[in-house]
């Protein structure tokens, strides 16, 4: 079953637009949603949550149309927005007491287990929590109301490497049973290399690719060679950088003729992102 099915999402702003955004997340998997700052990640997530009005397209969550079953589905969704604080001067206990009343599947036992596990003190104020703790608190809330789909907007940005790694381990544990699916946006690509099963890459409001992680990385080749070799492949490259040794450039695997003697390696997610961003710049 698909946890999330997005079809042809369109949304036009005066100087930015989401264009035909489509991707699917299979139940029980983690999907990393990557893209540069301003590529449309948050806009897409807010469209999924119906916080902004889409011009056209359809969002289905857990098999149901999100527009028609909004309230019902929100019971099954847990979301967290990195870097946004709510009622920071209130204690965790106060905030939870208010929030839990909204969810019919709220389970106090689960909640206290997660608090213990995440080492969260109920009597602390939100403002006293570190960034990592805030994300964990949000997760605890989401999991205690039995969320089946976690939509997390940049949950790992602002976290130190240890906290990030810890959080990624938690994500992986959560999906083990196959009940919970996670969509999380980030621009920290190393996070995804560690834990994502699928990658959806958005650039300038358009989905460049959405596929299994290794398949995604394998579909590109990072070439490096001297300037003479550059001329052979220049036309096919997505973009390239010139340096004192020659060039490095990104190419679609299918465009690359492996009989040419150019050093080719599988790029990292970060390299894919950088070269795509460079392509945008070249057209400006």
């Amino acid at each position: 079953m698909l946890a999330l099915d997005i079809q042809n999402l369109n949304k036009k702003y005066p100087n930015f637009q989401l264009k035909d955004v489509s991707f699917q997340l299979e139940k029980g998997y983690i999907m990393g949603f990557i893209g540069a700052n301003g590529a449309g990640k948050t806009t897409t997530i807010k469209s999924i949550l119906k916080m902004i009005h889409i011009d056209s397209g359809e969002v289905r969550i857990l098999g149901k149309n999100a527009a028609e079953h909004e309230i019902e589905l929100k019971q099954d969704i847990g979301c967290a927005f990195g870097g946004i604080d709510f009622y920071t001067r209130s204690k965790i206990r106060t905030l939870t007491d208010v929030i839990k009343k909204f969810y019919k599947n709220w389970d106090d036992e689960t909640y206290y287990n997660y608090l213990k596990r995440f080492k969260l003190d109920e009597n602390k104020k939100i403002a006293e929590l570190s960034t990592g703790m805030k994300v964990k608190y949000n997760l605890a809330l989401a999991l205690s109301h039995g969320a089946k789909l976690l939509i997390l907007d940049e949950p790992t940005s602002g976290l130190d490497p240890v906290a990030r790694d810890d959080l990624l381990d938690i994500f992986q544990e959560l999906v083990v049973d196959g009940e919970i699916s996670i969509l999380f946006s980030t621009h920290i690509t190393s996070d995804l290399e560690k834990c994502a099963d699928f990658i959806t890459y958005i650039e300038n409001g358009q989905i460049i690719a959405s596929s299994e992680k290794f398949e995604f990385m394998e579909s590109y080749r990072l070439l490096s060679g001297n300037e003479n070799q550059l001329n052979l492949v220049k036309e096919q490259l997505i973009s390239y950088k010139i340096n004192s040794f020659g060039f490095t450039g990104l190419i679609h695997s299918q465009d690359f003729d492996s009989s040419i003697d150019i050093k080719a390696i599988t790029p990292s997610l970060e390299e894919i992102m950088i070269y795509f961003a460079k392509k945008e710049d070249m057209y400006v």
């Binding site: 807010k46 949550l49 916080m51 902004i52 009005h53 909004e70 309230i71 019902e72 929100k74 019971q75 979301c79 927005f81 946004i84 604080d85 709510f86 009622y87 920071t88 209130s90 106060t94 905030l95 007491d97 208010v98 929030i99 009343k101 909204f102 969810y103």
Partner: protein, 218 residues
Amino acid sequence: MYNLVLKDLKLGVNPMFFVLPLIMGALMLVPGWLYFLVPLYFCWITIPNMFGQYRAQNDLLFTSMMPVTKKDMVKARLSVIVILEILHLVIAMIYGLITIRLYPHLTYYFFAPHMGFWGLCFVMLGIFNLFFIPMYYKTAYKFGGAATASITAAMLFGGVAQWIGIQSSFVSNIFNGTGAHNTALQISILTAGMVIFVAFTMISYRLAVKRFLKVEIL
């Protein structure tokens, strides 16, 4: 809806604003004062502070993540405002009763705190709601313009009503003169005021929902 009201009462509204009616209501004890000013303290102090707080705490995004409809969000917020308004008026009325007994032989230049006057206060707050709620829900976070316009409208109503009350002997007679002791007349003015309050508040709710549905939560 009920949970949303509870959320506002527990998180959004500072407890001070529930004590404020008791303190501001005590101004009713000033003999012969311009009593229209007493409920206006709600508009001057509580409203800007409350809505500033909502904005500072990112309440809009917080609430949008809960499984609630936008309609209920407006309904709950409006209910909280109405609860506070009624609290202000009822407590002021009680102080008013004390005032009337405390100074029985006072000559009132402005409206005396009889029931009819409270009817006018209800209309004043109704006008406030009618302007404030729909204007606020254009964005659901900017309250400055809405507060200025609605407070001005409410004060204009109060000012004009009071001016007529002083200038026209007929009106003055109804509210301060012999009419003040005509219980049936006073009750009917109060009831009419309440009806207008309810009607204006309902209209404001409908307009606000219509506008809020178009708001994009950023």
